[in-house]
């Protein structure tokens, strides 16, 4: 690896990280506008045209707020918690394959920060580290609301990690690889002539389990038990203010976009347009870089659809009770995940091609 490669990696890392962080203000705006639409009120409309500058105003306000550390807190863990929450959210995006490759200065550049062989396991492993930030924050705040919120959050996140993992096992079986990039490459073309060759048509139940678990993993409604406003004030970040609070917020939205990206990659063909192979697009536009641009736009549109689904569900469904939430994971989703793996295995054996 020479200096040019390192420079390219650094540039890719910065560009993709900044792009993912840009999801946060956009999502805050969309969330508030959709909430307003559903609750029949105008929503943010004072700052800038249509209130478009509202997230910027929020960010600036967060930066200029006082950042006190309450007495009676464990100062080290209290300061460390927002850090530990945002860091995994930043790291996990390294494995997401956004597009195939561009050719710049005579070099092929893959639009993915790190092309790991085990990127699926990397995402699952790093993604689950976020629970430490929440647990530390809740415990160190020395507040009953925070402690209960953190406990709920931890048990919810570990419970839903199992169905999430089992749903990805189904996808790994179908593709026969851990590499997210190779999975996307395998989803090119059509299935049976009339369907896109996407993972959801091989693993419909797996996708459903993954979708439900991703709501719980990111602490979103209907599973936002860690921060139920009505009963726990704000849950694990009750004692946090200023930018520390905003950091938890950013981590939540970045995890959301990672989950949406994972669903796109595992079940919805990643950067592929439906029914059209990469080769056809390449023949039409005639340039690898243009193809790469089309792939990036396709990927982002698919992620945006999932993010919008998260927002819609947040503002339409009521919240679960905590024991119902755990029951859903242990008595429904985990057995369903096991059944999904078993049925897929048997079906793959019965429908195996000639050796």
């Amino acid at each position: 690896m020479n200096a040019l490669d390192v420079a390219i990696s650094a540039l890719k890392a910065i560009v993709i990280l900044v792009a993912v962080i840009q999801v946060v203000p956009v999502m805050i705006y969309v969330e508030r506008k959709v909430a307003a639409l559903i609750q029949d009120r105008p929503g943010p409309n004072r700052v800038g045209p249509l209130g478009l500058l509202q997230p910027v105003a929020d960010a600036v306000k967060f930066l200029f707020k006082e950042d006190p550390i309450p007495l009676n807190t464990n100062r080290l863990l209290y300061t460390l918690a927002p850090f530990l929450s945002l860091l995994p959210a930043c790291l996990v995006i390294a494995a997401l394959p956004i597009a195939d490759k561009a050719v710049l200065f005579g070099k092929e550049i893959t639009i993915q920060i790190a092309d790991l062989d085990v990127s699926l396991i990397y995402v699952l492993a790093i993604g689950s580290l976020g629970v430490y930030g929440i647990l530390f924050g809740g415990w160190a705040s020395n507040n009953k609301f925070s402690l209960i919120g953190a406990l709920r959050s931890a048990s919810q996140m570990v419970s839903y990690e199992l169905p999430l993992g089992l749903a990805t096992v189904g996808a790994v079986m179908v593709y026969g690889t851990y590499s997210l990039r190779e999975m996307v490459v395998l989803q090119d073309g059509t299935l049976g002539g009339f369907l896109p060759n996407w993972g959801i048509f091989y693993q419909p139940l797996g996708f459903l389990i993954f979708l439900i678990s991703s709501f719980a993993e990111t602490n979103r409604l209907p599973f936002d038990l860690p921060e139920t406003e009505a009963e726990l004030v704000a849950g694990f970040h009750t004692e946090y203010g200023s930018m520390k609070f905003a950091t938890f917020f950013m981590a939540e939205y970045m995890n959301l976009s990672t989950m949406a990206g994972m669903m796109t990659v595992l079940f919805f063909g990643g950067w592929h347009l439906p029914w059209i192979t990469d080769q056809q697009v390449l023949d039409w536009v005639g340039s690898q870089n243009l193809l790469c641009l089309i792939q990036v736009v396709t990927y982002i549109s698919k992620v945006a659809v999932f993010l919008f689904l998260y927002v819609l569900i947040r503002w339409t469904l009521p919240r679960f009770r905590f024991d119902q939430l755990l029951h859903l994971a242990w008595t429904n989703l985990i057995p369903l995940g096991l059944i999904n793996v078993a049925v897929s295995a048997v079906l793959m054996y019965l429908m195996r091609g000639p050796a």
Partner: protein, 120 residues
């Protein structure tokens, strides 16, 4: 090892970013600590007792169960990786995994029958 270099770079950038935004607000924000602001928030009344109250042991059990089942589920991943290639060699791998899955299901049924998850 070469494919880990970009992750190290990303780690460095993320560390800078995280510490940067947390430091900037320390510098920019006003500093006016008063006792009421630094107290524990409990709906505006004086906090009652310590915050690190005993909590239900079910939370601990869920953590232990997660550990067990996550290790069990982790064994699926290497199996899933080679399963597609092994299809031509007969159903040995399929049977092995179905038996293993049966054992896992017995454990799951046991903990559900024990009503460990009942939090009320």
């Amino acid at each position: 090892m070469a494919e880990l270099v970009p992750i190290a770079i990303l780690l460095g950038i993320s560390l800078l970013l995280c510490s940067g935004i947390l430091l900037v607000t320390q510098i920019l924000g006003p500093k006016n600590p008063v006792p009421a602001k630094l107290g524990t928030y409990e709906c505006g009344v004086k906090p009652e007792g310590g915050a690190h109250i005993p909590f239900k042991s079910s939370f601990y059990l869920i953590a232990v169960l997660f550990l067990l089942f996550d290790v069990e589920a982790a064994f699926f991943l290497p199996w899933a990786l080679v399963y597609k290639e092994s299809l031509s060699e007969g159903p040995a791998l399929l049977w092995a995994m179905l038996i293993y899955m049966g054992l896992m299901a017995v454990g799951l049924i046991y903990i559900l029958r024990k009503k460990i998850l009942r939090l009320t």
